[in-house]
């Protein structure tokens, strides 16, 4: 329960960060997608129904705050969670580089899902050329940040688990 609450607060904080402070970073039009990193973390280390709903809710929050059409990011984040969850049994995360690679690939899945849905619902000229650059840049930034975010989340998770064990 405490862990779910922690993740809820972290999710809310990340949404807030993405709409405000992260725009201060000198990355041009790219906003670091920490929400994606959190969804990947859930898919790998915390795969339960609460995490599934959390991924959906975070994507939906991004839709409410930023997207011109509801459901776009909710779909992408749910798909990312599902993809990470399905492949988590064959991934052994033993160093930060692997976590960066997993987040990079997850970001590519998210980008591909967005482009696919975009092409179907919001058909637009020149989508593919622009999208390819966005997907790669966003994936690189997310992959760079992933080891730090993972380390912070693991620390928070193990701290709360320690408290629970002590209480029991």
């Amino acid at each position: 329960m405490k862990l779910s609450l922690l993740f809820f607060i972290v999710g809310l904080l990340l949404v807030l960060l993405q709409t405000t402070f992260l725009h201060l970073l000198p990355l041009g039009p790219i906003v670091p997608d920490l929400i994606l990193v959190l969804c990947v973390y859930w898919g790998l280390y915390y795969p339960n129904v609460a995490a599934v709903l959390g991924s959906f809710a975070l994507g939906y929050s991004v839709d409410v705050l930023s997207s011109p059409i509801l459901g776009l990011n909710a779909f992408a984040m749910s798909l990312v969670f599902l993809a990470v969850y399905l492949s988590s049994r064959s991934i052994w995360l033993h160093n930060p580089l692997i976590s960066a690679i997993v987040v990079f690939l997850a970001s590519l899945v998210k980008g591909a899902a967005l482009v696919l849905v975009w092409a179907v619902f919001l058909s637009m000229e020149g989508l593919w050329t622009g999208a390819a650059r966005y997907i790669i840049m966003e994936a690189l930034v997310a992959a760079f940040l992933a080891p730090f975010v993972f380390a912070l989340l693991r620390r928070g998770q193990s701290y709360l688990e320690q408290i629970r064990v002590t209480a029991e």
Partner: protein, 277 residues
Amino acid sequence: MLAFLRKNQVLVSSGFCVLLSLYILTAAARGQLKQDPVGPILLWLMRPLQIGAQAATGWIKEIDQRYATVAGFRAENERLRKRIQELEVERSKLLEAGATNRRLQQLLEFRSHLPSGSITASIIANSASSWFKTCLLDKGSADGVRKGMAVVTPLGVVGQVVSATSHSAKVLLVTDSNSGVDVLVQRTRARGIISGSLDNVTIMKYVKRSEDIQEGDRLVTSGLDGVFPKGLMVGTAVKVRKQNLGLFQYVEVMPAVVSSQTEEVLVVNGEPNQAKN
């Protein structure tokens, strides 16, 4: 059946969420999603946090600027440095007050040229995604902001309100790839549509090859789309190219308003042929 569901609950719930989001997406794209029950609550929850965070962001920017200013005076003695710091703080406050005063005066003056009932609002948050160019305003339907209203500044067009809750509104910026503003070349009255693109370049579409358009031409709203009042500045043509094939010219546009540097805006009801400028 129950045992299967229990065993694969993560997989089943994930699949359900994917399908649910696709359903929402389809309904939203077809315009069947009239009421979003969660969105207004989330926006209501986030609004005070975002206002606070935006204030903190401004504070960080100010600290950053102040540090850069003060760093140049390190070699000077303690008394002078203290005095300079005091003056710097005072100056910064006065400059900020002066700049705010000037902006609001301009906004007030500009407001008199617009259709009646325009609403002054502040930008409280930017887009959470690299894919969309949107921002959030601190005014919503309770203040008279409605979906479809135009968002402008004295410098030109910012965008269009795409959704509004009671105390906030989401604006799709002119630079977003999904936006479209009907414009005229001020010099020749050639028409086109200004839209953003994922290349982070704003372009003017559908300008016929035969039309006269040159780099540096000012592009203003035509007023024909029923959203933006006629004659508002949208941008300047910075690159004009006639490709070997095709009916239209390629025109790159520098938007008149940089949303990241904008703090206050006016939300107006852009009925055609009402603007005076």
